[in-house]
């Protein structure tokens, strides 16, 4: 970037996330979410001001490397952060309701009913000593008190059938260990969608599965979510999976969202130096004779509160300022923003 005509271009202001958005009301709005872990070795500043929207009937991807805070963001939405972790500040508004100051009892009515979550390792998240049909039925019984157990079981069976489990009547009597990874993930999906939630959080739903099974599960999820008109928050480290399933994507680095926008824009026209670097490291794009690009340096320690751009030490474009201030998010295109001073001039 050349500094030839700096004064002529009006500097754009960073996006002010605190102002009320008068566009169509998103289903989920996360503002300035901060989660810290108070460990014996010191405070881990895991999330440092996450701003994120999930629109109605949209699939929002969250990508980033290990430890960037993508799973913590998802768990914070459901308030599943266990001590020593704590949600320090921020707001999480879901369907017009603030979740962070709800009574735990009310929160329990939201989890599994209006917001469901699918975990990475399906056989770890199913109860090993309860038949899978009963586990699906249990979800129904908890959230729909007027349902009789036999009706719940019947509904569970129907749900298992609709997630593509062959011979659902027989399979619903099986225990999780008798199922393959792909089948277990189908059961998880059945369990999570049987209450027709508005928002489904999927935390690496296919990472433990083989590619051919992954393709089956992704298609299944896409179809069901479309049918139920739910929104999805899809967490993945696999950019290919995100490209295939999501409408929009947020890229996280070291506890904050660095870029956010429509999948086509972010993956084909990345604007934040980290996103650019991340895409260049993929072997998909490399020819066999050249070295793969690698981002120099390591992920920063999260034991320090954020006082600068956390990517600055590894960034090719970093300036003095990047080490002194936290960059705000700048609009870089239609519905596309990047948290980088490079885009202050609205390029």
């Amino acid at each position: 970037m050349t500094e030839t005509v700096p004064s002529l271009i009006p500097k754009s202001e960073p996006i002010d996330y605190s102002s009320t958005n008068n566009e169509s009301q998103p289903l989920l709005t996360i503002r300035d979410l901060r989660v810290h872990f108070y460990t014996l070795r010191g405070t881990v500043y895991a999330l440092e001001g996450v701003n994120l929207d999930v629109q109605k009937e949209e699939t929002m991807g969250i990508v980033g490397e290990t430890g960037c805070g993508k799973s913590i963001t998802a768990r914070a939405v459901l308030r599943l952060i266990d001590p020593p972790g704590k949600i320090v500040s921020g707001t999480v508004e879901f369907d017009g309701q603030e979740l962070l100051n709800l009574h735990p009892k009310e929160m329990r009515r939201i989890r599994g009913k209006r917001i469901s979550m699918i975990m990475q390792e399906p056989r770890m998240s199913l109860n090993p000593v309860i038949r899978v049909g009963n586990q699906v039925a249990e979800t129904l019984l908890i959230h729909e008190s007027d349902l009789s157990p036999s009706a719940a079981r019947k509904k569970a069976e129907e749900m298992l059938q609709s997630v593509g489990i062959p011979d659902a009547g027989k399979m619903s009597k099986r225990y999780p260990h008798e199922l393959s990874g792909g089948m277990a993930q189908r059961v998880m999906i059945a369990m999570m969608l049987v209450t027709r939630p508005k928002l489904l959080i999927a935390d690496e739903p296919t990472s433990a599965l083989d590619v051919t099974i992954q393709a089956q599960i992704i298609d299944l999820m896409n179809d069901l979510v479309h049918e139920l008109q739910s929104s999805v928050m899809m967490i993945s480290h696999d950019l290919g999976v995100v490209a295939e399933t999501c409408d929009r994507v947020a890229v996280m680095y070291a506890g904050s969202v660095v870029e956010q926008g429509r999948v086509e824009d972010v993956l084909h026209n990345p604007r934040h130096p980290y996103t650019k670097g991340l895409l260049r490291t993929l072997p998909d794009n490399a020819s066999e004779n050249e070295d793969l690009y690698s981002i120099k340096g390591n992920v920063p320690s999260l034991f320090m509160p954020q006082q600068q751009c956390r990517f600055a030490p590894r960034c090719e474009f970093s300036q003095e300022r990047c080490f002194q201030e936290i960059p705000g998010s700048y609009q870089v295109g239609n519905n596309h923003s990047a948290a980088c001073f490079l885009h202050e001039n609205g390029i």
């Binding site: 490397e65 290990t66 393959s180 792909g182 089948m183 083989d210 590619v211 051919t212 099974i213 992954q214 393709a215 089956q216 992704i218 298609d219 896409n222 480290h237 696999d238 950019l239 290919g240 999976v241 995100v242 490209a243 295939e244 399933t245 999501c246 999948v263 086509e264 993956l267 670097g277 991340l278 895409l279 490291t281 993929l282 072997p283 998909d284 490399a286 066999e288 070295d291 793969l292 690009y293 690698s294 981002i295 390591n298």
Partner: protein
């Protein structure tokens, strides 16, 4: 030694390798079932070549790698290394073991947690009597520098390192014995993409520098495509297709290879493309039925497929792409 049977130009030659594991049960510990983890794999590796091996979990790719270094029992078949036949018997491996090294998938569990890097890396030298204790530091340091670590890492313990650094230590452990063949079993699948890029670059650089031969096992097709000149596809203990990476990727002939490639998510293809999605799960390798291993999930299965097992044959005469399918020349797409 029956070195006459082997092809002198290849560093490693595997002929009809079978690895079976018995499942025993009952009072008499009778053998009830057989897990046919690898059932009849043949392949050749030339000096300085990188062969990628892909397949889904349970297809036997790891077992094949382990059998080659003697960590899994060979039920039948022959393996020639440098034109000499390998015999892994009674847990004692021959001195070829030094020239053939295995890198494991998980760098967190494959390093002894209570040994320092110096001992972890230098262990092989001491065991094989290639260095005296006094020279160890120097020799270990030489290798560590090759894998991008340095003198300040010499006396540290594995838990002090990140995943990428641990994989570098594993590699140093293998390299210090100056191997000719390195079997890499999913070396980057526990790592993040940005770290993966560093490790892959290093592996590629070392391969060129020392003219190493790699058997690169991975389920990640894009990694294998980047790393290897030739690629083999395994399904249920069988090699179903093998050939130059480019022709296998651009012109897959086995229906399984085709569906594997089409299932692969990619940032290039964009959203919701048409895919050929396989129905069902991969069958278990416990007592597999006769016939083609892929018959149950194939869209083009015919009667013959269920009776007879297709052998790996060149696509055309003199073609370097081999396919195990009766209908390889028909358009399955």
């Amino acid at each position: 030694m029956s070195s006459v049977d082997s092809n002198p130009s290849s560093l490693l030659e595997v002929k009809d390798l079978h690895v079976y594991f018995p499942i025993r049960g009952g009072v008499m510990r009778r053998q009830l079932h057989t897990v046919k983890a690898v059932s009849g794999v043949s392949l050749n590796l030339a000096q300085g070549e990188v062969l990628g091996l892909v397949g889904e979990s349970g297809c036997g790719k790891t077992t094949l790698g382990r059998a080659l270094v003697g960590l899994a029992p060979m039920t039948s078949g022959r393996v020639f290394f440098n034109a000499k036949e390998l015999h892994h018997k009674n847990g004692k491996s021959s001195n070829h073991a030094m020239k053939m090294q295995l890198i494991f998938q998980d760098p967190y569990s494959s390093l002894h947690p209570r040994k320092q890097v110096r001992d972890l890396v230098g262990e092989g030298l001491l065991i094989n009597g290639l260095a005296r204790v006094e020279e160890l530091d120097e020799k270990v340091l030489d290798i560590l520098e090759k894998v991008g670590l340095g003198v300040d890492h010499l006396y540290r313990y594995p838990h002090e390192f990140s995943g990428g650094q641990r994989q570098r230590i594993s590699l140093a452990r293998a390299l210090i014995l100056k191997p000719e063949l390195i079997i890499l079993d999913e070396p980057t699948s526990a790592l993040d993409v940005s770290v993966q890029a560093q490790i892959l670059n290093m592996l590629k650089g070392l391969q060129k520098e020392y003219n190493l031969t790699y058997l690169f096992i991975s389920h990640d097709l894009s990694v294998v495509r980047y790393m290897s000149r030739r690629i083999g596809v395994m399904y249920l203990g069988n090699l179903v297709e093998i050939g130059p990476t480019r022709s296998v990727f651009e012109n897959p002939k086995h229906p399984y290879t085709h569906s594997l490639l089409s299932a692969l998510p990619s940032i290039k293809k964009g959203k919701r493309k048409e895919r050929m999605i396989l129905k069902g799960d991969p069958p278990t390798p416990i007592d597999p039925p006769p016939g083609c291993p892929f018959a149950d999930r194939c869209s083009n299965t015919q009667e013959k497929c269920r009776i007879e097992k297709p052998v790996l044959e060149p696509l055309k005469k003199e073609s370097s792409q081999l396919v195990a399918c009766f209908f390889q020349n028909e358009n399955v797409l």
